[in-house]
């Protein structure tokens, strides 16, 4: 059969290919990215972590970017495990079920999934308390606003996004009880056109400090064009709005990656569910714009120290929802369970939750 001949030829070629590829010395670590790396945003921050990992530990890394959160992810993850990567970091929510499935076949590989809720024998979870940074930017917004109207461009009403919105208004109201927040949903994680449109709408509705929970730099750019203020998210976006960009809540994954590899290499790694914030060094504010008065800057630095020490919680009671119901009474902090099921707005948000 001709077909058989072709197959055996292909197999031979493949074997040759496999042999030339063999002989890896250093441990390799695989990264699966949901979007192109670009120069700002969610994936960009993970890639900074990857570069830090290479530099500090001497492991080699490889990554696949722009992996759809569908069946393709399983193939990519499996390929990394199959070739012997020590650790596979899957960095978007939609990879969770696929990573879990592959982890059951490749028990010697450590899998770590960013965001999500399913763990396995050899699969851990990691996420960061981005809301802590949101609270601090809220404080700045509350002080800097003249119209007392703030704006927020958001992707989807999942708990992580709701935490950000609510922490932002909590922070703002802690210094400015008159502050109110308007939210526009764009139903997309990355759509610069829509994000910009939403930002312009907010600015036209009196908002003078805006931020976003989406993946592009469009909101910061829109604020720069209109001479208003904005906060970046994921990454320091100051180069997209040198005047507008007050600061940004940035993600720092590098230390966690380094720690994970060292544990895996030492054989002490156990799958954990890490939800790290200021205390763990997993988030930080980008450099503060000089438009922020010096005394406010020092107050922010002070609040950062309190967050790191654990004495300041973004959702310290009393926490009151839009309808006036007390969610967390005075003297208590919101629990992680409450945070993870957040699907409402707090007092101060003047928009309505979709659906």
């Amino acid at each position: 059969m001709i077909l058989k001949k072709i197959i055996s030829k292909l197999a031979l070629l493949a074997l040759l290919g496999a042999m030339t590829g063999a002989g890896m010395a250093a441990d390799n670590v695989g990264f699966v990215y949901v979007s192109p790396i670009g120069d700002a945003g969610w994936t960009y921050q993970h890639d900074l972590g990857r570069l830090q990992l290479e530099k500090e530990t001497g492991v080699t890394t490889s990554f696949v970017e722009n992996v759809a959160e569908g069946p393709d992810a399983e193939r990519v993850i499996r390929e990394m495990a199959k070739r012997g990567d020590k650790v596979v970091f899957a960095t978007s929510f939609g990879f969770m079920n696929y990573a879990l499935k592959v982890s059951k076949t490749f028990r010697k590989t450590a899998f770590v999934h960013a965001t999500g809720y399913k763990m396995g024998k050899n699969m851990g979870l990691v996420n960061a308390r981005f809301y802590e940074g949101r609270y601090l930017t809220g404080v700045i917004a509350g002080e800097m606003t003249k119209s007392n109207v703030l704006g927020y461009v958001a992707a989807f009403p999942i708990p992580e996004v709701m935490q950000g919105i609510n922490a932002f208004i909590q922070g703002a109201r802690s210094v400015n009880p008159k502050a109110e927040l308007r939210v526009i949903w764009v139903n997309s994680w990355f759509d610069p056109g829509k994000e910009r449109q939403a930002a312009l709408t907010l600015l036209s509705q009196e908002a003078d400090v805006i931020t976003h929970h989406t993946d592009s730099t469009a909101v910061v750019q829109a604020a720069e064009d209109q001479g208003k203020y904005a906060f970046g998210y994921h990454s320091d976006m100051s180069k997209y709005g040198p005047n507008a960009h007050l600061t940004a809540t940035t993600h720092l994954w590098g230390d966690y990656y380094v720690k994970t590899i060292k544990e895996v290499q030492a054989g002490t790694w156990e799958p954990t569910s890490v939800w790290g914030g200021y205390k763990e060094g997993m988030i930080a504010l980008a450099p503060l714009n000089k438009a922020i008065p010096a005394d406010l800057q020092s107050r922010i630095r002070d609040l950062e120290k309190q967050m790191t020490a654990g004495s300041l919680h973004a959702f310290a009671g009393p926490v009151v929802d839009q309808a006036g119901k007390i969610i967390v009474p005075a003297g208590q902090n919101m629990t992680d369970e409450q945070l993870n099921s957040m699907n409402y707005y707090l007092q101060g948000v003047v928009s309505k939750v979709p659906n």
Binding site: L10, A11, L13, A14, L15, G17, A18, G21, G30, P36, S62, F63, V64, E65, N66, V67, A68, E69, G70, P71, D72, E74, R75, V76, E79, M80, F93, G94, N97, T105, G116, Y117, F156, P157, I158, P159, N187, N340, S341, N343, N355
Partner: protein
Amino acid sequence: MLRLERRPEASQLMSYASPAIAIALMLIGGLLLFTFLGKNPIEGFKVFFINPISDLWGVSELLLKATPLMLVAVGLAVGFRANVWNIGAEGQLVAGGVAASAVALYFQESEGAHVLILMVIAGCIGGMLWAAIPAFLKTRFNTNEILVSLMLVYVAQLMVSWLVHGPMMDPDGFNFPQSAMFEDSALLPLLFDDGSRVNLAFVFAIGALLAGYIFMFRSFGGFQMQVAGYAKDAARYAGFSAKRMIWIGLLSGGAMAGLAGMSEVSGPMGQITEHVSSNYGFAAIIVAFVARLNPVGIFFASLLMALLYLGGEQAQQYMNLPSSISNVFQGMLLLFLLGSDVFINYRLRWKEGS
């Protein structure tokens, strides 16, 4: 100046040779591309085209990836032959996936084969309903089916997004936008028990290709559509109903795209999320044209297209090439194909400036 001049007669032979020429040109273009990117072209070729299918598991992944392409492309080819341009298979695929998921979630407690059978039916009907919109608007108001079907892709995507954030969201899923995982009775059986993901959908695809072949080349309906594609006026003169052809063309594309959507949610996904399709609806258009709208060709063109996806992943992992490399190859393939086709119908002539 150079002019394109219509040939008196297009060569039949060349019309079949042009896909082969296009593939060859794509490979040459790829080798040049690797060279310009500073990579060893032979190594690049190996990583891109050989590595992904270097073992049985790789071959099984190729079949898995090619399955929805085959389904969608054969459905589209039926319409394309009659110049019914359904560009919205992507949306019909999503609609089929949504309908099949609704069945799976409704029968969560049920055992038995009826769940899968109903899912198949629901998937096809979901896709057909979505395709019926441009068909109705075209036959009733003479709207342009290219625009309407394309626009409906975005509507379908927003619909699935709303559903997985709302009615279809997993109640135990911490508000993440996805449905619950389907029960085993709602999952397509795997064809092999070696851990590969190839499932019954591949058999559906082969069946659809056979059915497509019979319809196109062995039935009067297929003949009518062919005639309408070649010569609209002749078809009208022969009394073939143009409206009927529009309906058949769009509905067959919709049904097959819907089935492809069903086989994604019921196959490798096992749930519905916002990402029902990985662009299969659009990639299948390239497949259909590379295949000359012929089911046999669609089989091979789907495998080639799937290989371009798999190769792109490998090129990233082993050669540090950017993710757009797959798109570049797909684009080259289509460009060279269209380019070759131009020269089947036209020839270059040097004419003195007029």
